[in-house]
Amino acid sequence: MAETYPINIWINEERYKELQAAGLADLLKEELAGMKVLAVPCTAEERDKVLKLFPMAKFDAATTKSIELLPKYVKDKIYEMVVKRKKLNVMSEFCHLFERAGDAFWNQEIA
């Protein structure tokens, strides 16, 4: 299986309950003394796309091999999409929708 590179979305109590209610709690991993994280995977192609669309983001090649420094509003939208689609593999669609809608994307509800 091809290597993937996560976008880590940390989950607070409120979101944890939301994910539990939606039957999605098993998508979560536990790290750092029981903290819950949604590791949304990106293929190498998706990773490069994310880094291009969001230049403030960085790929941590040295340690975690994850995509970091994405602003909260971007991660919130990715979270929204994961909940709507009930799956983790959403980044291709996410990038596509953002490219199509531009900044209006942030005010649109995920259909």
């Binding site: 880590n8 979305i9 940390w10 750092l32 003394a33 903290m35 340690t63 970091e68 909260k72 991660k75």
Partner: protein, 425 residues
């Protein structure tokens, strides 16, 4: 009272505190503006953070630092402290060897600069000797290449003391003030924690480890009473040029102090202060420089973890430890304390040192990247990982000083005020 600094020499203090006298001394001098970096280094020289330097280095010192990691007189020194200038500026401001000029900052008088030497030095050689590379993507090398073509060497005398802005005001102490504070606290041994981070529990345990090591064989009996500590931890935050993605200085200083404020360290064994310095990311050489600054503050011990002051993959994780161990004890005026990584062990259910805990396959590392990611998401971490009060301080600092973020972004870089100002004399 004479205070002894690095090199076993008297602590340098070149400050004219009396404004009337300062005005007399600067009357008639030519003036030249100083950049923020040069202004902070003038301040550091004049207060003795860089003792025994009395001013910006002359060529012989720069050469000895680059080639032998010492000043021309043989005192250990690892990073050149230089004042760069262009030919155009030399002509424009009428800079001449043997004359003094008045450096200004914010258009106000800052320091008298006695120009003893105008010289050149090959920047690529300086970069390679200090950083071990000539690659411009190394930020220290880039800084060296960005120097103008000539350097001025000579003594600095501060004529106008900086005004430190809030929230930094209580955290800026001169070396003399540090020493007086340690005396007041009754600390016989003080260990430095060098930082540019807000503290997670891994950092907290590194400090506790270093504190216990530094306290060593000293008696503990008096410490059964709060207020009777005889050793302490000094968190000395580096405040200087920021890069995008760094923690904002306000969050660093306030969050570090929060560890004491909320009792994670006793109030009589913990103190937070700051030092102006633009990080060079020189790894092992920077570790030596940090040890020099902290010796001048009057500290007895200095903690060094893995990857001290490095960047990218330029230095090996324990290269700074090896360099410090290679320096003869009589040249290093502080005792290094080398610490291993602390991690969370789910098996033990606690934060532990990798040198102590045997559940190696279960360890969860305190990755700085992960902690940043958690803070960006504004999710309060478990208290074993990050103290809740410290988290609140960081978030509050983000709102108050960081334009909504605890990390340096374009708005912070453009709009944040420097930590100090120079007011009219």
């Amino acid at each position: 009272m004479e205070m002894i600094g690095h090199g076993g020499k008297p602590l340098v203090e070149r400050v004219i505190a009396d404004k009337t006298e300062a005005k007399k001394k600067i009357a008639g001098l030519k003036t030249m503006p100083a950049s923020r970096q040069m202004a902070t280094e003038c301040i550091s020289i004049a207060y003795g953070f860089f003792s025994p330097l009395e001013g910006f280095m002359k060529r012989a010192d720069v050469d000895a630092v680059c080639k032998k990691m010492e000043l021309a007189d043989g005192t250990l020194w690892s990073i050149p402290i230089v004042f760069d200038i262009s030919d155009q500026e030399i002509a424009e401001y009428g800079v001449k060897e043997g004359e003094s000029i008045l450096l200004t900052y914010d258009d106000n008088p800052l320091a008298i600069f006695e120009i003893e030497e105008i010289f050149t030095y090959p920047k690529d050689e300086m970069a390679f000797d200090v950083y071990g590379t000539k690659e411009e993507k190394h930020p220290g090398v880039a800084r060296t290449y960005a120097y103008k073509d000539k350097f001025l060497g000579g003594k600095i005398t501060l004529v106008n003391e900086p005004k430190i802005r809030e929230p930094f005001t209580p955290y800026f102490l001169t070396p003399r003030q540090h020493r007086m504070k340690f005396q007041e606290l009754g600390w016989q041994r003080i260990v430095a924690h060098q930082t540019r981070n807000v503290p997670h529990s891994g950092h907290e345990w590194l400090m506790k480890h270093a504190y216990i090591a530094a306290h060593g064989e000293l008696p503990v009996e008096s410490m059964e009473v709060i207020g009777k500590a005889i050793s302490g931890v000094l968190v000395n935050c580096i405040v200087g040029e920021k890069r995008a993605g760094d923690y904002i200085d306000e969050a660093i200083v306030l969050a570090q102090d929060g560890l004491k404020k909320y009792g994670y360290f006793r109030e009589d064994i913990h103190m937070t202060t700051m030092t102006f310095w633009d990080m060079r990311y020189a790894g092992p050489k920077e570790a030596v420089h940090h040890s020099i600054i902290r010796a001048n503050l009057g500290l007895t011990h200095h903690m060094f973890g893995r990857d001290h002051a490095g960047v990218g993959t330029y230095y090996e994780s324990y290269e700074a430890h090896r360099l410090l161990m290679s320096i003869p004890r009589e040249k290093l005026f502080i005792t290094p304390i080398f610490v291993l990584e602390w991690v969370y062990c789910p098996h033990c259910g606690e934060v532990t040192c990798i040198g102590l805990c045997g559940h190696w396959n279960e360890h969860q590392k305190f990755s700085g990247t992960k902690i940043r990611s958690i803070l960006i998401d504004e999710v309060k971490p478990t208290r074993l990982i990050f103290r809740p009060e410290v988290f609140d301080i960081v978030m509050e600092a983000a709102k108050k000083y960081g334009f909504g973020s605890p990390f340096v972004g374009p708005e912070y870089l453009a709009k944040a005020k420097p930590a100090f100002s120079i007011e009219p004399l």
